[in-house]
Symmetry: C2
Subunit: 433 residues, 2 copies
């Protein structure tokens, strides 16, 4: 049995007024058993190890609700281009060249970056997901995996088969660290009939759906022309929403769309940096939250961001709403909720995202003993408006320390970086000579 005590400033994300400037957390194996003010809960707790970090904030590990991890291989490969040439001439030809092993190393690189920036869980959508599973299991992180399904593509049927295989092989693997969802790519890349088959299969396995929805105005136009409806109306009519659904992006929504999403308890993965960089638009997050829709935060892939840093994503999420709505929109604590407890709810994970007894010990510590964190008026404001990826000191997932003093313990970071470099450059060479 492992018994760990952490003494630090504790922001448990169990409510806006709960903060222990001198706090402690007791962890037994994979779970938190007690959280409180220093000395209040640890009296009879015999520990193997004590972390004394009085100048660190300990908080739940961040949750990335939408990414394509292996796309780190395309980081800074093509930027500042119009959307269609970027996709047609750069992204898709590159992806066509990626092997299973490339996907493994690209994902491992993504996970290294995520750990270093405090992300403990991701919802991923890509191909060769067994390679993604392998990387996650080795890294010791948590993930929900969805095989991307492009129904209109040549591999639509094979991919759906693989999605089922993925479930049978990996659902609950790694002591519950891995879960599986079905990942139909988008309403414009899958027919209605295909989406309904995906939904039926997901239902039969009792898992949810992860899909891109209403990301760009082009998509809205395309679906309107084809079906005479908005993407949300179309998916609702198909019956896709009767269960656990993560809708990524949701930038362009009508009031009726939002009512449909609310009525069906659809969860939203909000990707503000990708939406800005690709000129997709500003998602109506303030209105979604007003309807009590669950919204998590995502980075999207590293080709459209170009990092996987949820601290930056939190700041951008707040700034973008304040620019669009007013300076009181999306205050700091609500942003933190999106990156933690609401992120967990988005992914359908019931025992992560908060520091509370019975929850999984997925947590990070942030080093606040640095000039940019003084004075210490508000820890939530500091975390959202000031912090950056480099401030994360410690990462624990499932009760195991996977990063300590910024050193990742579970992966060979140098090897991962070198493999990613070699493989990405090989593909670029094949394409561009």
């Amino acid at each position: 049995m492992s018994r760990i005590l952490i003494r630090a400033m504790v922001l448990p994300m169990t409510g806006p007024d709960v903060f222990y400037p001198h706090g402690e957390i007791c962890i037994e194996n994979d779970r938190i058993v007690a959280v409180g003010a220093e000395g209040s809960v640890s009296e009879n707790f015999k520990t193997d190890r004590v972390f004394n970090l009085p100048n660190d904030v300990v908080m739940p590990g961040l949750i990335n609700t939408h990414t394509h991890a292996a796309m780190t291989l395309l980081r800074s490969y093509a930027d500042d281009l119009p959307l269609m040439p970027w996709l047609n001439e750069k992204v898709w030809p590159f992806e066509d060249k990626m092997t299973e092993q490339d996907i493994y190393w690209g994902t491992a690189l993504a996970i290294c970056e995520m750990i270093r920036s405090g992300t403990t869980t991701m919802l991923d959508m890509y191909a060769s997901m067994e390679k993604v599973a392998e990387a996650v299991l080795q890294a010791g992180t948590r993930a929900v995996l969805s095989r991307g399904l492009i129904g209109n593509g040549p591999n639509g049927e094979r991919a759906l088969q693989e999605a089922g295989d993925l479930f049978h092989q990996y659902q609950g693997a790694g002591g519950g660290r891995l879960k599986v969802m079905f990942g139909p790519h988008a309403p414009y890349t899958c027919s209605g009939e295909y989406l309904q088959r995906v939904k039926a299969q997901a239902d039969s396995l009792g898992v949810g759906i992860h899909i891109h929805v209403a990301e760009t105005l082009d998509e809205i136009k395309m679906i309107q022309e084809q079906y005479g409806k908005t993407p949300v109306e179309w998916l609702d009519e198909l019956g896709l929403f009767g269960g656990h659904v993560v809708a990524a992006h949701c930038v362009h929504l009508t009031a009726k769309d939002m009512d449909i999403l609310a009525r069906n308890h659809v969860c939203i993965a909000h990707n503000p940096e990708s939406n800005m960089k690709l000129n997709s638009g500003t998602a109506p997050i303030t209105e979604l939250l007003d309807r009590e829709i669950v919204v998590g935060l995502g980075t999207d892939g590293a080709s459209s961001n170009n990092n996987l840093d949820l601290f930056g994503e939190m700041r951008t999420a707040a700034f973008q709403q304040k620019l669009q709505v007013n300076s009181t929109a999306l205050p700091a604590y609500k942003v933190l909720e999106m990156a933690t407890v609401k992120g967990a709810r988005t992914l359908g994970l019931e025992d992560v995202g908060m520091l509370a007894p019975g929850f999984k010990a997925d947590l990070i510590t942030v080093d606040m003993d640095q000039p940019h964190f003084y004075p210490r008026f508000s820890i939530p404001a500091h975390l959202v408006y000031v912090a950056h990826a480099g401030d994360v000191r410690t990462v624990m997932v499932d009760g195991k320390v996977i990063m300590e003093e910024r050193k990742i313990l579970t992966l060979d970071v140098n090897k991962v970086c070198q493999e990613a470099e070699i493989r990405a450059k090989r593909i670029a060479q094949e394409l561009n000579g």
Copy 2:
């Protein structure tokens, strides 16, 4: 005589195609004497010290063209509020309580944060500027200092006197590291007559003007009602623009305003994060650049941002233009120019902002041997879209190393943080009990 050789990847910011993947820089005393590919320029250069940093990028130190450094004391003191209650009930009462010593320590804290995030030069506007000068001289950084002048306030005349005193005491101090500008706050806080007197005095001393212009729609409305013109038209009519002028913000401009700014060679300090967080708006940077107007980047004060990190500011500048215009707007290299060579031009500094023979040795190194910087397809894209404050390893100003391996050598960082904490909390206590 000091002779330093740096071997690293070199991004000199002398043109979009100039990059040495294996480069070197020779520095003699305060100036760069040679830059080139490794082995090409150092043959006969006898060095006291060699920095071998093959995985770092060396680039010009970043230039913050608009800040109120001492406002670090208000960091995360008040957020997510409407503009007027934020100013009236929070910011101004707090500032009223700040002593000269508070301003010294708040500025020292700001400079610690700036050094750690790669900023070597700032244009500051505040009160008690001799305390700001003291902190800059100790820290070893570079600064242009402007005493904030609120003509309509009770101290308008005294402040103008202090602005002149500041010039006589500090112009050229620290071996040229300090320069002085005049800082009339804004067209809505200074009368036309006062602005003309400031301009006459600045002209008589041969220095420039640093002023807030067209930051909010409220300002536009106020000036329109009072003078029947836009702020830019009003300042032009007053003759304020006939010399070196830094206009901060410039969010709300007409086409005619932009023509006036271009004709008068007014330089713009763009503060995208402050403009988003305070709901000020999106400045027309793309249109300003189309008119070949010089635009630098600023963080504004830490009460409206809440950090002084120009890496974040670069990313936000690009994202904001891409959201507003299209995905090709403000590409990475142009953003880097704003933070370096264009920043120097904004401040009227002719020998900083580039790594070239004859230029001052103001430079930073960025540690690229981290997961988020692989693969290495584009160093400019990495610096703008991926990098964060914590990636800066080394900082040199005027040929002197002031940060090494992330340790600041010129200030007692712990002492600065503790003093800032104590002083900020004292003021909050006085105000809020």
